[in-house]
């Protein structure tokens, strides 16, 4: 099972000091956070993609390419890459390029993006969100899987005899996760292609995530990719830890109360009860995270959000220390002992190359 972190890359005022870091500092801190993730033994770093303030990561493959050069084992991913407003040709090229530079340590999580104004900036219409995600991904798949592509669709100039370059490393495209908060169509899409399904998980109640994952698993089996238990599932999570749980609650509360998305809404206590947010001791985080398995089954990837809402870099690095030293080693052991036989790991470049060679031989 893979453990890692995902960042939205927000520039939020630290409510306890009234200061906001510069874009330069935030971008450099994302690099420091990724390096730290590898150093403490985490497996995955994923960055969001945004095109509006207060967010900085508009160019994920630039960031991930830079991180690739400074790391050696970390799997680089996104959370999410906008399949609706990006040209699929550019996604195919950017991520294939990144694959080569990172020696294959790359996968990609596709999402629709829910910021209405972004769509028209890229010549698209949010009301076409699902059709865009469906058509653009069908083209992306072709661009990676076929050397010469002839294609015509609704949303883009047709392609005649087109080859996207560079070709994917070793002829194997990056593994694709389809990320969603709420759309059953995206679970259906992930199942249809036999790709991974990543439930955002952190903004909605567990009962909802349970239905989304159950739908994906059922349809994955239905489309003949394997049994429901073999489908590839990832989950988000959100934690803030101190040795003493009261200290964690006291320190995190101002950040929670003013956070983007849910700030000024439910209380920390209500949101903790209603969603996977866990604020407390490392043991509480371990217990809560293990409980996710009870409603989604054995899963392959757990990503935590730890660096948002104006938390200072020093605090975030301390969170990563706690994750790496106290939480993840226990989770690895516990999840491995609970896991049913026959449940696969999340695909990596190496495993996909092996699978391809087996098909060829």
């Amino acid at each position: 099972m893979q453990f890692g972190i995902f960042t939205v890359g927000d520039l939020t005022e630290d409510p306890t000091t009234g200061t906001t870091v510069s874009e330069f500092e935030r971008i450099k801190s994302m690099v420091a956070i990724a390096r730290k993730a590898e150093e403490v033994g985490l497996d995955v770093f994923a960055t969001g993609e945004h095109h509006n303030p207060p967010f900085v990561p508009s160019s994920p493959t630039t960031l991930l390419g830079y991180i690739a050069a400074q790391t050696s084992t970390l799997q680089l991913s996104t959370s999410t890459t906008l399949i609706t407003t990006n040209d699929p040709v550019k996604i195919a090229e950017d991520f294939a390029m990144l694959q080569h530079l990172a020696d294959g340590r790359v996968d990609v999580m596709l999402g629709r993006g829910n910021t209405g104004p972004v769509y028209p900036w890229f010549g698209k219409d949010i009301r076409e969100g699902i059709p865009l995600a469906v058509e653009n991904y069908a083209l992306l798949r072709k661009l990676w899987d076929e050397d010469v592509v002839n294609w015509a669709g609704k949303f883009r100039t047709p392609l005649e005899g087109f080859t996207s370059t560079p070709r994917p490393l070793d002829g194997v495209a990056p593994f694709v996760w389809h990320g969603s908060i709420r759309s059953p169509e995206i679970a259906e899409q992930a199942a249809y292609y036999g790709d991974g399904f990543f439930a955002n998980h952190i903004f909605w109640p567990a009962s909802h995530t349970k239905r989304m994952v159950a739908l994906y698993r059922r349809r994955y089996e239905n489309y003949g990719h394997g049994t429901a238990e073999q489908a590839i599932v990832g989950l988000g999570g959100q934690v803030f830890m101190r040795k003493n749980s009261q200290d964690a609650v006291r320190e995190f509360r101002p950040y929670f109360d003013n956070a983007p998305v849910y700030g000024h809404g439910p209380s920390l206590e209500d949101f903790t009860e209603q969603t996977p947010l866990t604020v407390g001791s490392p043991q509480q985080v371990i217990d809560r995270t293990l409980s996710f398995r009870e409603y989604v089954g054995d899963y392959q990837r757990q990503l935590f959000l730890v660096d948002h809402a104006g938390l200072p870099l020093k605090t975030v690095l301390e969170q990563l220390d706690l994750l790496g030293e106290e939480v993840v080693p226990v989770l690895r052991k516990e999840f491995a002992s609970l896991r049913a036989p026959g449940v696969p790991d999340a695909p990596t470049h190496a495993s996909l190359v092996t699978a391809k060679e087996m098909v060829a031989s």
Binding site: P131, E185, Y223, V261
Partner: protein, 196 residues
Amino acid sequence: MNKIAVVSAGLSSPSATRVLADQLAEATRLALPGTEVEVIELRPLAHALVDHLLTGFPSEPLRHAIEAVTAADGLIAVTPVFTASYSALFKAFFDVLDHEALAGMPVLIAATGGTERHSLALEHALRPLFGYLRAHVVPTAVYAATSDFGEHAGALAERINRAAGEFAALVTGLGPRKPPADDFEEPTPFDRLLSD
């Protein structure tokens, strides 16, 4: 057996709005014997409604209320008139419903206010709201001012009975509602998504 949901947005206890809601529910029960009535008071859900607007998902008690309304065969919706319209609390509940949730549902609209002068809020605020949601709004809407609970109570009772009669006829005529399609039980197959 018919299931009727009653949404009451009164703030005090007891509120005139709840009193009117109960009278409408009782008149409906008399017109439709065996009707099962579930009353949803919005005041205890006030914080949950604002949280839902901010987070996009309902708390458990609010989810229960939304499901009760969505699964009903008819709805009685009663609000106090605030500043020439429905109250914000009343509107917040209908803002968090799925826009298909009330399609085809008979809805009896009613309102309370300090004076008779606000009665047309039913016609210029509530009726278009439920029209937008594609509900069947009962022709007679019931407005009760403070004085209607005293010296004019007879006229109010008459109006309640007329509205309840029209409501009952609609509920009976349309029959039990088909529950809305469940995207999780029956997802749109991907080849259809691809060909759309």
